[in-house]
């Protein structure tokens, strides 16, 4: 934390609503407790403190969700959010994977944030965000519960994202009626944005079409200390020290921040010229200390001749999209729905299925379900 702590605290209190300030400050302090100086992470405490919510197959505000194990080997889970239809207001278990009904249904694969170490697909903040996206874009969202650092370093998160992409692409029930193909978008915030980029990269030449990337405050970096990093260090919830910690936790040991995962257009990056890369919508917050890297990313895409739209939200801090209590939130949400809707040629309801595939690392106790039931029975027995 920089000197003149009080000055810092006061500045950021002035630019965000009070409840946002409370939420993000709470995260900041809790996360401080979790990162150990030796590079390890207090995962037990992290899971305890993280507010989680279960999936709910009963529609709430027109959205229902269910969890799916998409890869047994890595226990990769994703949470799927779908809009409840007028005909089927109360879907039953057999109909969770009923084919999507519209001509064109966008499916958004969402990667939650958390700097590669925090949060899960079933974190309350991301469950809420995904549900909003469904309602907003009339989409199916697949939220991926990818493996996190420091227990699982690069490239685990990208591998999981790739697995999810292949899975989504191969679901017949997600195919749009018009062309019997799945209309896929990749989206993510913070580390999730970084993952979205790299998964899109992997999809090139694979035969899987990604129609667009939506990157919210994507997490990029590099060895150099940029002007924005120095100017904004510690001022709006985030410090350079914590950014460094998370990169050290995610990148392979011994690698520096010019590794291509962190710095895709840096010295070790791959050129995207002439490549069939999806169009991108990149949202940058004016009070995010890593904005120079995010802007460099946008430049990199432009220089490679790729289609990219930048939304620079001057007065926004990190996490502004978590609570719908500010203008930036609504601006960005509008842009996202336009971004996803633009490929809907039919005048039909642009039911974009935003599938946020949240890859979860869950200890799946597959066998012995009977034992678990028996155990529960034991609690209920009053002998």
């Amino acid at each position: 934390m920089a000197r003149s702590n009080e000055v810092n605290l006061n500045e950021c209190k002035m630019v965000v609503p009070l409840n946002t300030w409370v939420l993000i400050s709470n995260f900041k302090l809790a996360y401080n407790l979790l990162r150990r100086p030796d590079g390890t992470f207090n995962r037990h405490l992290a899971e305890f403190l993280d507010r989680k919510v279960p999936a709910n197959a009963n529609p709430v505000d027109g959205v229902f969700s269910f969890d799916v194990l998409i890869d047994r080997g890595t226990s990769l889970l994703c949470r799927i959010y779908r809009p409840a239809t007028a005909e089927e207001p109360q879907p039953n278990v057999a109909e969770l994977e009923k084919p999507v009904a519209a001509e064109v249904v966008p499916v958004i694969i969402f990667f939650h944030g958390g700097s590669f170490a925090h949060s899960s697909a079933n974190s309350a903040i991301y469950d809420t965000l995904c549900r909003r996206l469904v309602g907003l874009c009339k989409a199916v969202v697949v939220s991926v519960n990818y493996r996190r650092a420091p227990e699982n370093r690069y490239p685990c998160a990208y591998d999981d994202g790739w697995t999810a992409l292949k899975w989504v692409n191969s679901r017949p029930w997600l195919q749009s009626q018009k062309d019997s193909k799945v209309h896929i978008y990749l989206a993510g915030d913070s580390s999730g944005g970084n993952i979205a980029h790299h998964v899109a990269l992997r999809a090139i030449d694979s035969g899987i079409d990604v129609l667009g990337n939506i990157l919210l405050n994507p997490m990029f970096g590099g060895q150099e200390r940029t002007e924005s990093e120095q100017r904004l260090d510690g001022k709006y919830f985030v410090t350079l020290r914590d950014r460094d910690w998370y990169w050290r936790a995610y990148l392979p040991e011994g690698e520096d921040r010019d590794h291509h995962a962190c710095n895709p257009f840096g010295p070790n990056g791959r050129s995207l010229e002439g490549i069939n890369f999806p169009k991108s919508l990149v949202v940058v917050a004016g009070f995010d200390l890593i904005q120079d890297w995010q802007l460099a990313y946008v430049d990199g895409l432009k220089k490679a001749g790729q289609e990219v739209k930048l939304l620079y939200m001057e007065q926004a801090t990190i996490g502004f999209y978590l609570l719908p209590n500010n203008n930036h939130f609504h601006t960005v949400m509008d842009e996202i729905s336009k971004f996803v809707g633009v490929l809907v040629h039919e005048a039909h309801v642009p039911v974009a299925f935003v599938i946020s595939v949240l890859l979860s690392r869950v200890r799946v106790i597959e066998r012995n379900n009977e034992i678990r039931e028996a155990f529960c029975f034991l609690f209920e027995t009053t002998e």
Binding site: N42, I125, F375
Partner: protein, 387 residues
């Protein structure tokens, strides 16, 4: 690190409650009033904070951050050693973390109880000139301060007594185990004295009070003879049930034993469980249920329960067997029960168990075998005798 979360579910992977759009389902009627004041947006993020308290929570978060920055030593302690209460109740969570710091209050206008009595700091606060404060205010602040001092003294003493109680309890228990009852009795007297200085309604005082009672009963029965189980059979059954519900240890032992038994019985159609101490048979409903659900259908299950003869003419073994049989019938498991009454395990001979050569047998012994070890060096233990 101790974790406590009253909203944790059995499954473990979800610590919130209710559906994703409402934080808590079915609040009790008296909390409705407070419920309406909860900030909706934070509720969607999994946190329960009253709108009216937002500013206060924000203030506390700031102080926590300052404290974390200013005392890094305490901070790493905080990270590994704190008791964390329900994180959804943000106000309490922040407060509990704040109380872990020895940091004196930084704002003279706030009167916060400092768990570590620091006389000089208190004086500084009093003598800090604060031109904005009117004179009247300062007089009040003096009284409040001295009251605070008294309160902080009590708090420190209480904490101290609590810790000493714990140490004394441990030492006393060791004395009892060694059989040194006179020393244990003197500890008892000291502990009862300490008890008067702590709050026995809750917390360490309450726990210590119960343990002191139990130890004294143990000591005076040890000296004067007589059985530990002074209560009636009915009382003991109730106590046992409470213990079973409240503590995970026995349940877990039963759970793992049942799992092992289930695995061993896989593929066998005639199975026989011998329970070295049936007690109230609480281990067996789960096994019966699990066998009922196993793929391929349940086997024929025989249960032989060993236990002491009932003192008051009841056949408690048979009663338990009947209840288990009833349960088995309700889940369509063919079941047969035999009770073997014996006051000591070593009195039970293999022929009493009537093991059929064609059946698979599991012997279930939960905390029985240690009793067969000799406690008196003169006598040979039953195990050594080879019974």
């Amino acid at each position: 690190m101790v974790l406590y979360d009253d909203s944790a579910t059995l499954a473990g992977s979800c610590s919130g409650s209710g559906s994703s759009s409402s934080f808590s389902s079915k609040p009790p009627p008296m909390q409705q009033q407070q419920q309406q004041d909860i900030d909706d947006l934070l509720a969607g993020a999994g946190y329960k904070v009253r709108s009216s308290e937002l500013r206060k929570v924000a203030h506390r978060l700031e102080r926590l951050e300052t404290a974390m920055v200013n005392s890094p030593a305490d901070f790493s302690q905080l990270a590994s050693d704190t008791i964390h209460y329900n994180p959804s109740d943000l106000a309490s969570w922040v407060d509990s973390l704040l109380s872990e710091f020895a940091e004196p209050p930084t704002y003279p206008s706030e009167f916060i109880m400092d768990p570590v009595t620091n006389q000089t700091v208190a004086n500084d606060v009093w003598t800090t000139t604060n031109p904005n404060m009117p004179q009247v205010h300062q007089n009040i602040s003096y009284e409040q301060q001295s009251l605070n001092n008294q309160l902080t003294v009590v708090t420190a003493m209480e904490e101290d007594s609590g810790i000493r109680l714990v140490h004394m309890l441990m030492t006393c228990a060791e004395c009892v185990q060694r059989g040194d009852f006179s020393l244990a009795t003197s500890f008892l007297k000291d502990m009862q004295g300490l008890l008067t200085r702590v709050n026995t309604v809750c917390g360490i005082g309450k726990v210590a009070g119960h343990f002191i009672d139990a130890l004294s009963r143990r000591i005076f029965q040890g000296i004067g003879g007589g059985s530990i189980n002074g209560g009636s059979a009915f009382e003991n059954e109730i106590l046992y049930h409470h213990f079973y519900e409240a503590c995970p240890y026995l349940k877990f032992a039963h759970f793992t034993a049942n799992q092992a038994i289930l695995e061993a019985f896989d593929g066998h159609d005639c199975v026989h469980v011998v329970d070295f101490n049936l007690m109230h048979g609480l281990q067996w409903p789960a096994l019966i249920q699990a066998l009922a659900l196993r793929p391929g259908g349940p086997p024929l299950l025989r249960l032989t329960g060993i236990g002491p003869p009932s003192p008051d003419g009841r056949d408690s073994l048979r009663e338990i067997g009947l209840r288990l049989a009833e349960l088995a019938r309700s889940v369509n498991v063919r079941f047969a029960f035999r009770g073997v009454a014996a006051s000591r395990l070593e009195d039970v001979k293999p022929w009493m168990l009537q093991v059929n050569p064609k059946e698979s047998v599991a012997v279930n012994s939960i905390m029985q075998l240690h009793r067969l070890l000799g406690s008196d060096s003169n006598l040979n233990s039953p195990i050594e005798n080879g019974s």
